[in-house]
Amino acid sequence: MTGAPAVEDIVRSEYEHGFTTEIESDTLPPGLDEDVVRAISRRKGEPEFMVEQRLKAYRHWLTMREPEWASVHYPRIDFQSISYYSAPKRPEDMPKSLDEIDPALLETYNKLGIPIEEQKALAGIAVDAVFDSVSVATTFRATLAEAGVIFCSISEALHDYPELVKQYMGSVVPHTDNYYAGLNAAVFSDGTFVYVPKGVRCPMELSTYFRINARNTGQFERTLIIAEAGSYVSYLEGCTAPQRDENQLHAAVVELIAMEDAEIKYSTVQNWYPGDAQGRGGIYNFVTKRGDCRGARSKISWTQVETGSAITWKYPSCILRGEGSVGEFYSVAVTKGRQQADTGTKMIHIGKNTSSTIVSKGISAGEGQQTYRGLVRIGPRAEGARNHTQCDSLLIGDRCTANTFPYIEVKHPSAQMEHEATTSKISDDQLFYCRSRGLNEEDAVSMIVNGFCKEVFNELPMEFAVEAQKLLSISLEGAVG
C-alpha cells in the first residue's frame, strides 16, 4: 500500500494553533512559597477565609508526593520554576463589552477560528473566555441572571457569593485528594463558577474557552458547578494553546454537585499543544474532575474528546450517592506522535439503584501511548446498582501502544456489571473495500475512525460534535500505513 508518505506528513504536521499573541502580562516571578500563595490571594482581593484555605492546602501539599503509578513518562517538574500568577495588564479596567477587549486578544481568537461575536450569534452560547487565568469577557450575563443562573469567574464569585463558594468549594475534591489537586487548591488562578437554582433549566449552553499563553505560566483553573434540586445545565469546555518550547503544566480541578433530580452535562473538547515531533513543548494536562450526585435521581454526564496535550492524566469521575442517581462517561482520546494519555473514569456506586455507563474509545497512532484506567466500585449498600462499560482501542501504525486497565470491585450481589473491551487495528480489508469503491485512503480512515467514535460524538451538543469530528479528522488524516 502507498500512503505511507502521507502518514508521515500528517503525523509531523505542525500544530495549527501554534502561535503566540503579544500581550503584556502582570506576572509573578517564578517560585512557590507561602508568600506567593498570599500574594495570589491578595492580588485577587479574596476574602480572608480563602487565604486561609489556600495556605492550609499549600502546607498539606508540601507533605505529599508526586504520583508515579500512571503509565506516563516525563521529566520531573520543577515547581519552583513556574510562575503562579499572570493577568492582563489592567485588571481594574476590565472590559464591559467586546469593543473594549484588547484587539490583540480578539486577533488571537480569530486565528483560532472562534470569534466571540460570531459565536454569540451563531450558537446562542454565553462565553466566559479565560485568557491567561483571568476572565476578560463575559457575555449573556443578563439573560442568565433573568433565569437566576449565576455564571461568572471564581474570583467574582468570591466577591459576590462568598458563602456559596465557601460551602461547596473543596467539598467534592478536597485539597488532600491528590498531589495536583492539592497544588491547585493552594494556587488556583481563576476559573468558572456556575450556580443553577432550584427547578431552573439553564436557558443556554454555557461555554468557556481556556487558553494557556504567557511563557512558563502554569494554569490552575478551578471550576465549580452547583445544580440545585430539579435543575439542568449543560457546560462546554474547549481549549487550545500556542506553541511553546517549555512544557507547560495544567493542573485544573473541576467540581460538580448535583442535587435531587438535577442534571449536569459537562462536555470537553481538548486540543492543547501536543509537543513537536520529538515530543518537546507540549502541555502536561493533569486534571482532577469529579462530580457528586448528592441527590436522589440526579445525573452527571461527562463527555470528552481529547486530541491534544503531550501528557493527559485525567479521570472524570462520578460519586453516585443519591438513590437512583446516574453517572455517564463518554470519551474519545487520540494519541499520536509522542503523546501519552492515561485516562479513564471512576464510578463509585454508593446509593441504591444507581447506574453508570462508560464508553471509552481510544485511538493510538505514531508512537502514541494510551492507557484506559477505570474503576467501577459497587459499595455494600448499592443494592440494584448497574454498570455497563464499553472500552475499545483502535491502533494505527506499529509503534503505538494501548493498555486497558479496568478495576472492578463489587460488594453487593444484586449488582449487574458488564465490561467489554476490544483492541483492533483499522484492517487492510476495510481500507481496501473503501478504496475499491473509489475513496482515497485518508477519507477511508477518517470515515472508519468517525464510525468508531460515533457513540461518543452522539453525546456531544451539536456544534461541539461538528468541531470534534473536524478535530479528529485533522488529527488523523492519512495516519495509516
Binding site: S393, N403, I408, E420
Partner: protein
C-alpha cells in the same frame, strides 16, 4: 509477627532436612533464601497484592515441613480417589513423593515420571537445566520461598514424540501435623517435540487441619507438543494454598489448562504463560467457588512475546456467604507480536449480600495488528430463570443450584474425563447445597 515481618518467615525458610542436594541445587536454595530475606513482604501497594493481604497467612507462623509421612496405607486413600478415574497415579504427602501409595503403572518408551528427589539421587544432573528454567527472575516472593525450600515434587519428562494416553494423576495429600507446616512441592513438566499427555493435579487433605501448600509448577512444551493440564484445588477449609505456574511454549504447541478452585481458606494462584514460538495456543480456563470466609485469588499473566499465537482465558466464579474472589488477568502483547489473537473473559455470579469480587482484566498491547478482547460480568441469578424452573415444580433451592451448576458447567465440561467431570459437578453441587444460597 508484628515487628520485623521477615521474622515470620524464618521457620518457613529453615533448611530442608533432606539429605545432601547437588551443589547447583544448594546454590539455588541459598540464593533464594538470601533473596527472600532482603525483600519486603508482599503488601497492598503492590499492584499484584492490591486486593489480597498476606496477614492471615503470616499469623500462622508456618514452618518448613520436614519428613515424609509414611504411616498411611493405600487403603487410606480410598476416600480421596475419584471413582472410575483410570490414571497413572502418583501420590505426594505433605510435599513429598510416596512410592508406597502410588500406582504409576507402565510407561511408554521415552517417558520418565516420578519423584523429584528420587530422580536427583539417581541422576544428580538430570534436572539441572530444568529447575528454575521457566520461572521469571526476580522470582515472585512465594516462588522464591519455594526455591529456598526446594526438595521434592513430581517430575514428568516426555521425550520426542512420546504419548501417554491415560491421564497422569498427581495427588497432593496434606495431613495434619502437630504444628502448622508448609509443603513446597516443585513439579517439573517437560514435553519434547510432538509429545502428548494429560496431567491432572489434585490438592486434597485428610481432615480439616491448618497447613499451607506453596507449590511451583514448571511446564515447558516443545514444538508441536500437546498438554492437557487440569488442576483441582480442594484443600482443607482451614488451609492456605499457593500455586505459581510457569508455562513456556514453543512453536505450534498447545496447552489446555483448567483450574478448579473449591477449597482452602485462602488461596492464591498465579498462572504465567509465555509464548516462545509462533502459532502456539494456550487456553486457560477456571472455575472458582468461594463461600464463607474463603478468599480465592487468581492472577493470570499471558505474555504474547512472539507473533501468530492464540490465547483464551475464561474464568467463572460463584461467590456465596462471605466469600471473596479476586481475578487479575493480564494479557501482554509485545511490539512485534502481530496477528495475536487473545480473548479474556471473567464472569461472576454473586449469591449473597456479603460476598465480594474484585476483577481486573487488563490488556497491554504494543503491536498493532491484533485481535484482543476482554469481557467481565458480575451479576446474580436471573430471576426469570428461577421463576421458569419453579413454575415447573422445582423447589427454589434446587432451582438455584441448577442455575449455578449450569453456570459452572461451561468450565466443568471442558475436563477431559467423564469421571472427573462427575466428581467436580458433585463437589460443586454439595458445596452449594451446604450454603443457604440466600
Amino acid at each position: 509477627m508484628n515487628g520485623d515481618p521477615q521474622i515470620g518467615f524464618e521457620r518457613w525458610l529453615a533448611e530442608p532436612s533432606a539429605g545432601a542436594a547437588p551443589d547447583w541445587l544448594e546454590s539455588f536454595r541459598s540464593g533464594a533464601r538470601e533473596d527472600v530475606r532482603a525483600r519486603l513482604l508482599p503488601h497492598s501497594k503492590e499492584e499484584a497484592w492490591r486486593y489480597t493481604s498476606v496477614k492471615s497467612l503470616l499469623e500462622q507462623g508456618f514452618a518448613q515441613s520436614d519428613e515424609t509421612m509414611t504411616a498411611l496405607q493405600p487403603d487410606d486413600l480410598e476416600e480421596i480417589l475419584v471413582p472410575g478415574f483410570e490414571t497413572h497415579r502418583l501420590v505426594l504427602v505433605n510435599g513429598r513423593y510416596v512410592p508406597e501409595l502410588s500406582a504409576p503403572g507402565d510407561w511408554p518408551e521415552g517417558v520418565r515420571v516420578g519423584g523429584l528427589r528420587a530422580l536427583l539421587e539417581s541422576d544428580p544432573d538430570a534436572l539441572r537445566e530444568r529447575i528454575n528454567a521457566t520461572v521469571d527472575e526476580p522470582q515472585p516472593f512465594f516462588s522464591a520461598l519455594n526455591t529456598a525450600g526446594l526438595d521434592d515434587g513430581l517430575v514428568v519428562l516426555l521425550g520426542p514424540g512420546a504419548i501417554v494416553e491415560r491421564p497422569i494423576e498427581l495427588i497432593h495429600l496434606s495431613v495434619g501435623l502437630d504444628e502448622p507446616r508448609v509443603a513446597q512441592p516443585r513439579h517439573i513438566v517437560r514435553l519434547d517435540a510432538a509429545a502428548q499427555a494429560t496431567l491432572v493435579e489434585r490438592y486434597v487433605s485428610l481432615g480439616n487441619s491448618v497447613y499451607c501448600t506453596n507449590s511451583v509448577v514448571e511446564v515447558s512444551l516443545g514444538r508441536d507438543a500437546i498438554l492437557r493440564h487440569e488442576r483441582v484445588q480442594m484443600e482443607s477449609p482451614n488451609a492456605f494454598h499457593l500455586t505459581g505456574l510457569y508455562l513456556v511454549q514453543d512453536e505450534n504447541s498447545h496447552y489446555m489448562g483448567v483450574n478448579i478452585g473449591l477449597g482452602a481458606r485462602w488461596a492464591r494462584t498465579d498462572l504465567n504463560a509465555r509464548f516462545r514460538g509462533r502459532h502456539a495456543e494456550c487456553v486457560l480456563r477456571g472455575l472458582y467457588l468461594a463461600g464463607d470466609g474463603q478468599l480465592l485469588d487468581y492472577h493470570l499473566d499471558v505474555d504474547h512475546a512472539v507473533p501468530d499465537c492464540r490465547s483464551q482465558e475464561n474464568f467463572k466464579g460463584i461467590l456465596h456467604g462471605k466469600g471473596r474472589a479476586v481475578f487479575d488477568g493480564r494479557v501482554l502483547v509485545a511490539k512485534d507480536a502481530q496477528k495475536t489473537d487473545a480473548a479474556m473473559s471473567n464472569r461472576n455470579l454473586m449469591l449473597s449480600e456479603q460476598a465480594e469480587v474484585d476483577t481486573k482484566p487488563r490488556l497491554e498491547i504494543k503491536a498493532d495488528d491484533v485481535k484482543c478482547s476482554h469481557g467481565t460480568t458480575v451479576g446474580q441469578i436471573d430471576p426469570e430463570m428461577l421463576f421458569y424452573l419453579r413454575s415447573r415444580g422445582i423447589s427454589e433451592p434446587l432451582a438455584r443450584r441448577m442455575v449455578c451448576l449450569g453456570f459452572a458447567g461451561e468450565i466443568i465440561e471442558t475436563l477431559g474425563s467423564e469421571a472427573l467431570r462427575e466428581h467436580i459437578s458433585e463437589q460443586v453441587g454439595r458445596r452449594l447445597e451446604a450454603t443457604s444460597l440466600s
